[in-house]
Symmetry: D2
């Protein structure tokens, strides 16, 4: 941690801060220039709150040097994490593809789609039972019934299932029913949820919040990991920017960024980011080319009658085309499908 | 709702959409131009999902005309809402000022600050018992003990108390202990929480999410209102933009915007938005001048020893100066403190 | 300047950087921690390019400590700058109000509006002769004829005139004809223009770019000042964010921010930022309350027949109301109109 | 164009707008609902300014239906544009790679790099002679001398050269010396420059502005095309968002977006967008996978002694690796290098 002091700070001010730091076992180096005094804190500064330092009126700025996350940090865990769920894995050499409808609508629908995506190469089935909808008047999902239909589809196809949790009161139910528990973008900083998921035995797929920095995203992973659950899968699903042509802006550069900072696997969701079915194919290729560990794609057998997000769902035919393309891409990147 | 069709759409495509609309009791007007076909839907389109319409491959774009919120909409409720809590009100002619520390730290601290801010004109006491912290390693609040200390401070001063809820499992406790339940920016789209708060008898202070549009913010209010609780107070606390000098960018223009769209009262939190104690005064004046119904301000008697957010907390002396300034401003705006 | 090295850097790496710094007469302090090595550079680092330092593969990050602007910096010029143009001033105790139409349309129009705004208290007349339009097919202004009409209006009313320059080839003409030369948001980093304006004897009104940080904005002022022209007026006109209800987001917190960093006067343009005539009044009050040195407001006698930006122009009646309101506000802030 | 009227609008208001539209030869369709009146304008609405329509106090909102660009629009020009410069092309089946240093520094430097990148497969040489620098105190380029050195490098290698123009007064010189004239992000809406380039016989490489929407970017292309120069190459170089890990956020989804809207070729610059040399490789692959027509990459033989942007420059070795990777990728996308 680097503390920049105001030009007119006094000797006693430096002593005050030095005292605060040394109380936490941190050593303080002074850099005194002509119009600048800087303190360099060396040691474990994790218990020193930058906000408190900045509240001193003689402090100009505090700059963090170390990343605030530890368990998610590649520096302390250089081996890539591989998450296993059922017979499928995420991370490592094999690309993972999670596919399925935005929401589970009926037994026939989910089983049909599950069979189709399995046949085309998906390794996981996704499907929403509880849906986060901006409007209270929109379809909210089949809820517990939806989870049961997903379980049926898993039984039919063997595909492990991924579904989004919306409420901490459903944690036991999800732990029992699904193979990977998804935390949606809007709950990325629902800390109550993150803490609760730290005690769960299922892997967590953690979507990036709409306006979450990469550091905040990794800190949310850290919350779950600090609670004891280290099976975290990150998923980039677009960030909010000024551009309105796409629903969000897929931050493809976040893939190499996260890979340089963390050992956790990273997927990309090109359906939610673009909000346009005809862009999914190009963005799926780009994600894999940039080094993503896999994809999360909305596939629906009948998008025009889907109960939600039809505009971004692709049909099995197009999904098959994407699978072919990433299968061709994979060996160039030292990966396989 | 306006549907723009692709140039090469066919007669049968138009019939398909017309059928969808008419099934919902909505009338369809056709506008057929030389290189453009547009359908204008008239009637209650609230059950028609724009995403589904856009999933038709012959649709270019869907444009909503009506606001998706009803109970929060000024069109259907032209009278401004006035929220009452204890002996204080928010909304109407009187400006409301909610003041207090970021987090409750001790009985002495909260009672001292409560007395100070009351003396200086605050009408509510705020204080965090459960704190949303980006890091799992930061101080998380005194939790239930904090709520009790707030209750003690209320007893001492008569000020109604405002505190943030982090978990749906605490709803009963909050309903019992606090006068206004705050939903933080990170939980603005925690729909499980919003639904649960719809059944609560306490007013809800709903902070704007970091990257929430004004429409999404009002839709979150709508969620609570649709559940039966119409006592909503909105609070602008800064949005995330590219500018890093301030922690967030206070969107002052959201005040007149919300006032034109909704009957709900709007407060401004200049402490969290700027993240800098020395900016609070200027932004507090600007908020009131723009028409805000009041302020939410972090006040601490000893910011350099605060357990969180010291950098944005002001001391009682400066809070007193702000109260004087807004007291002088109020009559120019037809308000009073 | 602070240089953070990678954990595995070597002694020779440190020597390399030390050599680079010492060649520029800068002293280097070492902070060597357990898993961290930091170099603190003390002295005039302005000739050391952070990008070059970062290009060394053993460097993790470079953090600037000093502001890169000097002439615009309040640290080296604590007295506020007061800009004079004709009989009017910007900066200092008196609030400056620049009013007039988006574009000059005819002699009758500009003289009428000039008389109205002067009568109501404006101290400058604005009017576009050259218009920056997103579309090549939109009205581009009356150009040189517009400048002449502005000169006529100045002769009639005595109001100094402010107009936007679009091309360096027009600099002589502008220097001759207008009292304050405006640089629009889109040209804020047209460095060729900024350099040319450094040699001009007229004050420059420098609008903030749509996505310019406060530092970049001040650096653009520095460009002009470094060329010899220190008469700079800054103008906040909204930044681009994700919110689409308003055209841009007026960054009111930039006012106290700039006031803490620079001695230059700051105006606010509530017309372009909001893009909505009915919001101008609230935002004008907020700007003044936050400490702005004045306003730039679009006023048109007949907005529905304006040749551009009618949606954000107010009529003289509403302008009069704004003048009354800020006249009442001014004394509370130690200002006058 | 769709005009939404306020609920309480009157018959005479509709007549007013109808008159405005019909004067421009545009037909008006009325959609009158229970709480909504909408006017649909059919015909060539390009001369109707939405701002003027919105300035009517009885108008709620105006929604454009047609894209405002014509010459850049794929609807009116379905064949992809292929731009030729010297013996190289951009657009069409072959991927174009423009490589070279941020700035030309010496004859030896530019010739060495030119030879290297040519050998490794680049089809164009880039090099800055005039540099847009945020600080007036930074190296501004070798200027005219730099152009001459580029010409020498072209003579040596046969590679056509690409260089950025900063001033309209240099247009003749650039037209004479360079093969492709680059307009930088900061000048994307320097309309004076765009108009001047409309009369030039060289292709223009138009970078996307830092906060330009896709529509604004295409409108800037339209400006040049409307002036007579239809040889435009678009280049995505990152947009400004809240994320600070990368310098900007590369908007990969803009590639399929632009491809669906325009016939112009689109390149990607992964050097400026990320600002980190170690990310260039991943982003170059992603760009090509998403359908870009080529790349613009900063290559320097000695980044740690580069005079600018060393942190994002790659060495020839890494550039060779990128060329190999995209050469392998190309056939999967129906392209060749």
């Amino acid at each position: 941690m680097i503390i920049v002091l105001k030009p007119n700070c006094e000797e006693s001010d430096i002593r005050t801060l030095t005292g605060v730091a040394e109380k936490e076992g941190v050593r303080v180096n002074h850099i005194v220039g002509t119009d600048l005094t800087v303190l360099g804190l060396v040691g474990d500064t994790s218990r020193i709150d930058p906000g408190i330092i900045e509240s001193h009126r003689f402090v100009e700025r505090v700059m963090k040097v170390n990343e605030p996350y530890k368990m998610a940090n590649i520096k302390f865990h250089p081996e890539p994490t591989v998450v296993t769920a059922g017979r499928s894995v995420i991370g490592g050499k094999k690309l993972a593809v999670i596919a399925g409808p935005c929401s589970v609508e009926s037994e026939e629908q989910i089983i049909n789609i599950a069979r189709e995506v399995k046949k085309l190469g998906a390794s996981f089935l996704r499907g929403g039972a509880f849906k986060p909808r901006t409007s209270p008047y929109s379809f909210q999902g089949l809820e517990y019934g939806g989870l049961e239909l997903l379980a049926t589809a898993r039984k039919e196809t063997g595909l492990p299932i991924v579904s989004e949790i919306m409420s901490t009161k459903d944690i036991d139910k999800f732990e029992e029913c699904v193979d990977v528990i998804q935390v949606g973008a809007r709950n990325m900083q629902n800390f109550d949820m993150l803490k609760a998921l730290g005690g769960v035995s299922r892997p967590i797929l953690l979507k990036r919040g709409l306006s979450a920095t990469i550091e905040e995203w990794l800190m949310s992973a850290e919350y779950i990991m600090a609670g004891g659950n280290e099976q975290i899968i990150l998923c980039e699903r677009g960030i909010r920017t000024f551009e309105t042509f796409t629903r969000n802006t897929q931050d493809i550069s976040a893939i190499p960024a996260v890979k340089s900072l963390s050992h956790l696997p990273v997927l990309v969701d090109p359906s939610h980011s673009t909000g346009k079915y005809w862009m999914v194919e190009a963005m799926a290729r780009a994600a894999i080319a940039a080094g993503a560990d896999g994809l999360l794609i909305e596939v629906h057998n009948d998008p025009v009658h889907a109960l939600c997000d039809g505009q971004q769902s692709i049909k099995p035919g197009r999904f098959g085309a994407i699978m072919e393309q990433i299968t061709a891409l994979a060996p160039l990147l030292g990966r396989e499908v």
